[in-house]
Amino acid sequence: MVNYRDMSIGELLALTPPGWGGALLNGLSLSLQVAGGGYLLGLLIGVAGAAGKLSGGPVTRDLLTCYTTIIRAVPELVLILMIYFGFPLALNQLLTTLGFGRVEVSAFAAGIVVIGLVQGAYATEVIRGAIRAIPRGQLEAAYAMGMSSFLTFRRITIPAMLPGAIPGLSNLWLIATKDTALLAVVGFTELTLASRQAAGATKHYLLFLGIAGLLYLFVSFISNRLFRTLERRVTPGERHA
């Protein structure tokens, strides 16, 4: 048993055991990876979902409305538990039905799917709103030159909606980083669980949870700056400012 009581803060935060610094950084890295993966998955779902809601058939639109309504109405913790335990079951059910063998779904992969599905619902709405704000004439100009719907979507709609979507999407990224903390309930040692373990073992609750808070704050600070730069780069009027 390590005697944490007599260790200095520096020793407690050392990168190698008995210090907990390494475990915290590892947790942070896992958090960022799951958040990043989930966010990207969410963006893909968001783009497809927005396209489906705006120009899909009635069935597509109804299905998407179900998806976004449910995800946004149910508390994220419940969703995480449901998807976390449900997704591997469903996936294996599907694989078995199709005659494939079962797969082990890692906590990491399941975490990305959870965050991605939640993010996707919100991203769908953010992107749909941004697309609707594009003047119709800009798309008609593309159609009038013989561009197909897909080409127009890829070359005109997506870049033209970015300035309008980035504030909302940057917000979603911050939510993604924070939502990873909910994965602690399923035993995934992301930053929050790592710091709780450190706190529990050392009894230095304030120190370790405070450090976790500071790390989240730091991530948010850096992210805000990056998104602001990105927003400036894709917003026509501000590009040369």
Partner: protein, 271 residues
């Protein structure tokens, strides 16, 4: 509707033939059987008060709107409406796109793409639709930009340009497709008065080159000077049609006289 061949128009078959086209939005019949022939090299001015169906007519011609009923013959391709069966698209999508690439449209609100430089705006469709190489598209874009006096602004983004410059850019973008017909929908209506002239000048030069054009405009003096034929649309029907002198001179149509007199006087001082 009889279409007498006019000053500049030539050739036996019209490039565009609109035959008894109807268009309804819900219960609202906006075009009530319109027929227009445009011959190669001809400039047609489409006039009429707001809401008379001018934009709808123009948009039917490049199929941004689907006519409810009637026939379109666009560059030798005949399309009869309504289409038989439950087909939603009036013609094969690919054919439709190929057709549209040959009919350029210039809009009232320019509709340049805000996320691209002027040059990129002009290169876009030639590269993506006509499959030209970047180098070729760039050379041509620069040539068209010089042509409309915007070469120096080729790297500018649309929202840093004046309305007149944006519209000239939009015309360059249309021309870069080497279209066989140019459709203009009130190209100067969104412009401050002092910027109207520069855009009309560009369009006038195109007319002098013998391009086939249909121009929806409220600039009556310009229409009188540039058009070979003027068509007056009123509440979805052609109320008068003919040489500019004939249409703008004393006419038999009360509605046209009313339109000319009240809304947009034929005023030498204007534009």
């Amino acid at each position: 509707m009889s279409s007498a061949p006019s000053k500049r128009g030539s050739g036996v078959t019209p490039v565009i033939e609109v035959n008894d086209v109807h268009k309804s939005f819900g219960q609202d019949e906006v075009l009530k059987g319109v027929s227009i022939m445009a011959y190669r090299g001809e400039v047609i001015a489409l006039i009429g008060s707001s809401g008379s169906g001018k934009s709808t007519m123009l948009r039917c011609i490049n199929l941004l709107e689907t006519p409810t009923r009637g026939t379109l013959r666009l560059l030798d391709q005949e399309i009869v409406f309504p289409q038989h069966g439950a087909q939603r698209q009036p013609i094969d999508r690919k054919k439709l796109r190929r057709l549209r690439a040959r009919l350029a449209m210039v809009f009232q609100n320019f509709n340049l793409w805000p996320h691209m430089t002027l040059e990129a705006n002009i290169m876009e469709a030639p590269i993506q639709v006509l499959r030209k190489s970047r180098a070729e598209a760039r050379d041509e874009a620069q040539a068209w930009l010089s042509r409309v006096g915007l070469y120096a602004h080729r790297h500018a983004y649309p929202d840093t340009l004046s309305g007149g410059q944006q519209q000239r850019g939009a015309i360059a973008r249309a021309l870069a497709m080497s279209p066989e017909v140019l459709l203009f929908d009130e190209p100067t209506s969104a412009l401050d008065p002092e910027l109207v002239g520069e855009v009309l000048e560009v369009i006038r030069n195109l007319a002098d080159e013998g391009r086939t054009m249909i121009i929806v405009t409220h600039e009556m003096k310009f229409a009188a000077e540039v058009a070979d034929r003027v068509i007056f649309l009123n509440q979805g029907v052609i109320e008068a049609e003919g040489y500019p002198e004939a249409v703008f001179g004393a006419t038999t149509s009360d509605r046209l006289r009313q339109f000319m007199g009240s809304a947009y006087p034929l005023n030498g001082e204007q534009q």
